[in-house]
């Protein structure tokens, strides 16, 4: 349980309900980080002032404004907002607010005491701006139906049908959880009830302790949030901005093009190679994305990936993994609009047995991946 929440409630179930309410209540958008990881939801305030600058950049737009104190002195504050991708998609633009405008911001202030406030609401001339549409992601493209598109040799196509465009997004789950477990989590992977932690996966003791610690800290140590470390492993298929699979059949490989994180690419090799390290062998080269080799079993592409490092979180919500991790991922495009994804996590360093988590991804037809760089407005 978070420190500041602990001060507001006695213990046990009531605290957990309060924590869950705080998380669910404040997370109006699927931003780059949970709001509670950076802002103190126990300290909500309202500030007004004249805008000095607008930084229209991912992962978070910032609007700077001067707030006048009772003694007449002014100090410059930053309002943190959702990403350009989300705000653009909701009809706002870089010139919605301009320097010289007077705005009123309501939201929680930064945990570290700096002059930053999360813009839960931002008002300009009495009108609320920079709201993020509920369907900013789900409204992308149109609902599609139809048979699985195929190559001339009948193998399913994992990218667009010939002559079309589109990408995969809208995962039906946004954090890893063993299939069959019924545990309430929010879209960031934050548990509604801390007592459910052990039900999420067959953790070893240390891994459960670490997962619980990360949860109690509201994921604030997530290296993706802190340092733009890639959302590698299954996490790359649970990002809100989506991904594309580009089949380079001439070269027996598939590019995974990501829009979340830093818009990285990676290769899945479909030739008969064996997994070897990229410079001098696996032991020497623990990687973020690992070495991925694929083969087809009927209409399912089965990808085996090894060679991971331990420097990233492989799921939203902070489930741990070790460098002993082997992932077996099964991609099945059951129709034009649906990609069924199932991952088996085999990590004898962190779990007591292999386990499987699966979800569906949906085809966003006729659209291009958004350009998103986590690193965009970070120094």
């Amino acid at each position: 349980m978070n420190r500041r929440v602990a001060s507001l409630c006695a213990s046990g179930r009531a605290c957990e309900i309060l924590a869950a309410l705080l998380v669910f209540g404040a997370s109006a958008t699927f931003a780059h980080h949970p709001v509670g990881a950076k802002f103190d939801e126990g300290k909500v305030t309202t500030l007004s002032g004249r805008v000095t600058a607008v930084d229209w950049a991912n992962p978070h737009v910032h609007v700077f404004f001067n707030v006048k104190a009772a003694d007449g002195s002014e100090s410059n504050w930053a309002t943190e907002l959702a990403s350009v991708v989300e705000l653009d998609g909701s009809g706002w633009a870089a010139d919605t607010i301009e320097p010289g405008d007077t705005i009123t911001v309501n939201g929680p202030v930064a945990l570290n005491g700096s002059r930053q406030i999360w813009g839960t609401t931002v008002q300009l001339d009495g009108k609320t701006v920079f709201t993020v549409a509920e369907d900013v992601f789900s409204s992308r493209g149109e609902a599609v139906s139809g048979p699985t598109p195929r190559w001339p040799d009948k193998q399913p196509r994992l990218g667009p049908p010939k002559g079309e465009t589109g990408y995969w997004a809208l995962p039906s789950k946004t954090s890893l959880m063993e299939d069959g477990a019924t545990v309430a989590v929010d879209k960031y992977g934050v548990l509604a009830n801390m007592n459910d932690a052990a039900k999420v996966a067959p953790f070893q003791k240390w891994a459960l302790d670490l997962y619980s610690l990360r949860q109690r800290n509201w994921l604030k140590d997530d290296p993706m949030f802190l340092n733009c470390i890639p959302p590698a492993g299954p996490r790359q298929f649970q990002q809100p901005f989506g991904f594309q699979l580009v089949e380079d059949r001439d070269r027996s490989r598939i590019f995974v093009l990501l829009s979340g994180g830093n818009s990285n690419w990676r290769f899945i090799y479909t030739d008969d190679r064996t997994a070897t390290g990229q410079v001098t062998g696996n032991d020497d080269n623990p990687l973020f994305y690992g070495h991925s080799l694929a083969k087809w079993e009927g209409d399912t592409m089965v990808v085996t990936t090894t060679g991971f490092n331990e420097g990233f979180w492989f799921s939203n919500g902070g489930l741990p993994h070790t460098n002993k991790l082997t992932l077996t991922e099964r991609f099945t495009r059951s129709d034009l609009g649906t990609l069924h994804y199932a991952v088996t996590v085999d990590d004898p360093g962190a779990y007591t047995r292999p386990w499987t988590s699966s979800w569906d991804l949906h085809w966003v037809a006729g659209q291009e991946l958004p350009e998103f760089y986590c690193q965009d407005n970070r120094q």
Binding site: W56, V84, D88, A94, G159, P160, K162, G163, N227, C228, I229, P230, V246, D248, D250, R251, F255, L257, N262, S263, N264, W265, R266, F267, Q278, V279, T280, D284, N285, L287, F288, Y289, G311, E368, E371, Y373, Q375, D376, R378, Q379
Partner: protein, 274 residues
């Protein structure tokens, strides 16, 4: 990437040296006429490896100047003297020098920012140009520069109106014989177009020409048309070399990035200035 390689790369970045790459810097083989540029089965030019092989591109020369022969620094950590060969506007010239006065401390590359435009082709660890005629697009995949990708649309579309400025802008291409011609707009104004800190603005319009002269050589020509920073369009280009038998590798800039600290933190004077 192994520790030694990482250390070498970090040191090279910190010292601001041209990053020596074993592939790019290999001693020249005895002169032998290069093989002609490979072609796909249907006869079109192949910017990748011949069938059954692997390889990628790394720049050999990469100075974004009008006259590469005269390229020399004015003095240590100052903008190159022949920057005046470029029709640069006064504010952009002053900004370039200012960046050098600060020892290039605000270098976006060392902060893991992506680099679009000519700087992508300057990428020290190489790139691939992947032509996907079936998808009507060409991808450029880069190892460094944030390990990201650029899409060039080959389907005849036009640039959209009201583009949100971005690192890679919006690129449309066509074939002029065996030359890939790419027209791009929609850039943001925070990128540096080269290691010397040449600025551009959101008025930047690039025309790039990629020609595979032979098996081993790619000629890159670029016309920089930016009325926000230059007084007229100007041209530059690089020679890019083929690295056979190797594949692009994973490079995550954020993994252990100490360059900004080394450049602007306490380590600055002991590590960046000889």
């Amino acid at each position: 990437m192994n520790r030694l390689l990482k250390h070498t790369i970090a040191s090279a970045l910190v010292l601001g040296l041209a990053i020596s790459n074993a592939y790019a810097q290999a001693p020249a083989a005895p002169a032998e006429p290069p093989k002609p540029a490979p072609r796909h089965a249907d006869g079109r030019i192949n910017f990748g490896p011949p069938e059954g092989e692997v390889g990628f591109w790394i720049r050999r020369t990469a100075n974004l100047v009008v006259n590469p022969e005269s390229y020399e620094a004015e003095r240590a950590q100052r903008a190159p003297v022949n920057i005046k060969d470029i029709p640069i506007q006064d504010w952009a010239y002053k900004l370039t020098n200012f960046r050098h006065d600060l020892f290039l401390a605000s270098e976006p590359y060392t902060r893991c920012k992506p680099a679009g435009g000519p700087r992508q082709i300057m990428s020290p660890y190489g790139f691939e140009i992947v032509d996907m005629p079936e998808l009507e697009r060409v991808y450029i995949l880069t190892t460094s520069n944030a390990m990201t990708y650029r899409i060039i649309y080959m389907d005849g579309r036009e640039h959209p109106k009201n583009l949100t400025p971005s690192y890679f802008g919006h690129s449309v291409g066509h074939w002029d014989g065996d030359t890939l011609v790419v027209d791009s707009v929609g850039y943001n104004d925070v990128s540096w177009q080269n290691r010397d800190g040449l600025p551009t603005t959101d008025k930047l319009h690039l025309v790039e020409r990629f020609t595979r002269r032979d098996m081993n050589t790619l000629d890159y020509k670029v016309t920089i048309d930016d009325p926000g920073a230059y007084t007229k369009p100007w041209e530059s280009g690089y020679t890019v070399g083929w690295t056979p038998g190797e594949e692009l590798f994973e490079y995550v800039c954020q993994e252990n990035n100490i360059s900004p600290d080394a450049m602007i933190g306490e380590g600055r004077y002991s590590t960046t200035v000889p």
